[in-house]
Amino acid sequence: MQRTVFRNRWLPYLLVAPQMAVTVVFFFWPALKSLQLSLYRVSPFGDKSTFVGLENFTRLLGDPDYYRSVVNSFVFAAGVTVLAVLGALVLAGLATQKIRGLAVYRTLLLWPYGIAPAVAGIIFLFIFHPAYGILPYFLSFVTAYEFNWLLKGWVAMVLVIVATAWTHLGYNIAFYIAGLLAIPSSVIEAADVDGAGPMRRFVAIIFPLVSPITFYLVVLNMVFAFFESFGVIDAVTKGGPGQSTEIMVYKLYKDGFIGLNLGSSGAQSVILMAIVIGLTILQFRFAEKKVTYR
């Protein structure tokens, strides 16, 4: 790493100031506000508010539905991360082959990222909805199997995982394509000469060389799944059937913005924040050791 030396002591601070201002206004301030809210019981219109200490937290910790949403979140985040990262690696691998029309493929692969999660959810609904989806309609011609996730929780979960992973695939692919293209062809050719097949080359050379990207993407996709997957869930299942797809961030939204229980919602966001920070620290502690930086 090269150290840049600024002549003016204040210039570097000035340069990061805009970004810091945005971060403070849109992240730190709301985070502090949630922390404050989590200690109060507030009426919907905010006219009555009492300090209740940790009551919002103890209530959540005694609520089986909350634990379900935590478990759902982990299942969902793991599913989305694995699918979106592995899927992206495979697709990026294909999109770096020497094939005709490469630019077209690459553009098309990046496209889904430009789609808002809620819109992606609607698209999935039109494909998979038991009442008006095109897929169940065609399925009904060939099989008696009823694709009804309105009552089958795990099918609904798989559906939202796939939809969410799909929206994020493009972003991951872009990183992987860049990473794969940066691998010097001499390394691969050398392995080729030594008699390594495509699989062996991938496992022994390519995968370790893109591991920093993989690490980065795993962290980001996980955070994304925990925090920002709200749109797809809201559009597709609204947390149902039962509470099968109610992940933490969706429950938080429902309790806070529909139920107008701001205290509990604040407490939920504090817990969610703590979990995600904890997970990220863990990943940096343990997973990063296995990453090869060049």
């Binding site: 009426s43 006219d47 609520d63 009442a131 980001l220 920002e228 059937p241 309790d255 229980n261 205290g263």
Partner: protein, 444 residues
């Protein structure tokens, strides 16, 4: 993650723009007093609202009502609350029936009866239809102006009935007939499933309890106090949901999701019967490719009495803290929309119930119901049974969350994950927790 960053970066210009817009002074060009009206009506209903407002604006020259659609009901309410906290509340906000208790206890509203009294505008409250007024009144005084009210009814596919050898002019009256007709519809191949439903909690739990004169909650369904507990896990509720779950296995009943997501099941001909809001008549008239009719919600018969169904929809709430001259405009607008000609127009245009007896009488005199018998089904149902404390409506805090809890447990029951008893017990336990929390937040 790039998303949080793009969010921040995207939000900043938006904020700047919003600030800039705030700084633009209200143009002094028009002397008319503006009345902000936030609502949640989409599509054709949105157009109907705009048209109604236009009629008012053209009817006088002092006030200009500005309608603004703020999203779904929940989003509109959330937006109004946020605006109220910033002292930027609209004059009028449309709130769905489930938000009634929240609004009544908010301390942020000016009850309409009080507004009208202050403005000395005479309204014949006695002329309003009882089940509609009852839902939104406290101590006999109306708190919000009924706007779009509906009640669930039964829709049935006449073509499918014909094919199944059933009389297409006779919808089922009892649940026994629903079962029998469903079996015939399925056996004859006229439909894949007997019936489905929209709004599972509103129709199958709330309205079914009211229709059979069963209490939904203690304290007269919450009208008498905040210390409320649900009663839906008693004999009637358990028996009924056990039956629905059993029918779900045989396709006599086919669950199609919450809100209106099951509509396609009826429109595609998959299910021969469908229970949904009376406000869907217009939509089905446009959307259905087959002949259909309507009937009243089926009843279990003895030993249960027959009471009226309850209403759903939304009312208009007046936010307090506005200057008297603006309140005058608000009052005049609300008076305008409750007048007989507007009520008749609104009913004919949207299919929502007319809320005054005079409007209903005039519609009858004009043979409207003869020409559109389906439009009368809801009125008949609301007046046929006896109005009892159980059928007056529900007054529960955090009702939206409670509906959500009930619907989630209904899904567990229909999926066979829980028995009806277990599911309803769980729904009641969770809802009671929510009610306790609401009572605590509002008692301070």
């Amino acid at each position: 993650m790039p998303r949080p960053k793009t969010l921040g970066a995207g939000a900043l210009p938006a904020l700047v723009l919003a600030l800039a817009l705030l700084l633009v002074p209200a143009s002094p060009a028009f002397a008319k007093t503006e009345i902000q009206f936030w609502h949640a009506m989409t599509g054709q209903l949105n157009e109907a609202v705009n048209e109604l407002v236009k009629q008012f604006n053209e009817s006088q020259s002092e006030y200009e009502v500005k309608p603004l659609r703020k999203g779904t009901y929940a989003e509109t309410l959330t937006a109004a609350i946020a605006a109220y906290r910033q002292r930027q509340a609209p004059h009028i906000v449309q709130v769905f029936e489930a938000g009634t208790q929240t609004m009544m206890l908010s301390g942020a509203v000016l009850p309409v009866y009080q507004l009208m009294k202050e403005q000395e505008i005479a309204v014949d409250w006695k002329d309003f239809i009882a089940p509609v007024v009852g839902y939104y009144s406290k101590d006999g005084n109306l708190y919000s102006m009924p706007f779009n009210s509906s009640t669930p009814i039964l829709y049935y596919n006449k073509d499918a009935f014909q094919k199944a050898g059933l009389d297409p002019s006779k919808p089922p009256q009892t649940w026994k007939q629903v079962e029998e007709y469903s079996k015939k519809l399925i056996a004859s191949g006229a439909a894949k499933c007997g019936f489905s439903t929209g709004w599972p909690s509103w129709i199958q739990v709330e309205n079914m309890h009211a229709l059979h004169d069963q209490p939904f909650a203690t304290k007269r369904n919450g009208f008498d106090g905040l210390d409320v507990q649900l009663l839906i896990n008693r004999e009637f509720g358990v028996k009924y949901l056990t039956q629905l779950a059993a029918w779900q296995k045989d396709n006599i009943f086919s669950y199609g999701g919450r809100a209106g997501t099951a509509d396609p099941k009826f429109l595609s001909g998959e299910c021969g019967m469908y229970m949904q809001s009376s406000a869907l008549i217009g939509g089905f008239t446009k959307g259905a490719t087959f002949k259909w009719g309507t009937g009243q919600l089926p009843h279990w018969g003895a030993p249960y009495k027959r009471a009226t169904s309850i209403i759903g929809g939304a009312t208009l709430w007046v936010m307090k803290g506005k200057p008297a001259n603006e309140n005058r405009g608000t009052a005049r607008f609300l008076k305008f929309i409750s007048d007989t000609p507007q009520q008749m127009w609104w009913h004919v245009t949207t299919g929502y119930l007319a809320i005054s007896n005079s409007a209903v009488k005039n519609l009858e005199a004009g043979y409207h119901f003869k020409k559109h018998p389906d439009q009368f089904t809801a009125f008949a149902q609301l007046t046929r049974g006896q109005a009892t404390p159980n059928s007056q409506g529900l007054r529960l805090g955090n009702f939206v969350q409670i509906r959500d809890v009930i619907e989630a447990e209904m899904e567990n029951i229909f999926a066979g994950k829980k028995s009806a008893k277990q599911g309803l017990d769980d729904a009641v336990a969770k809802s009671n927790e929510i009610l306790k929390e609401f009572a605590a937040a509002n008692k301070q």
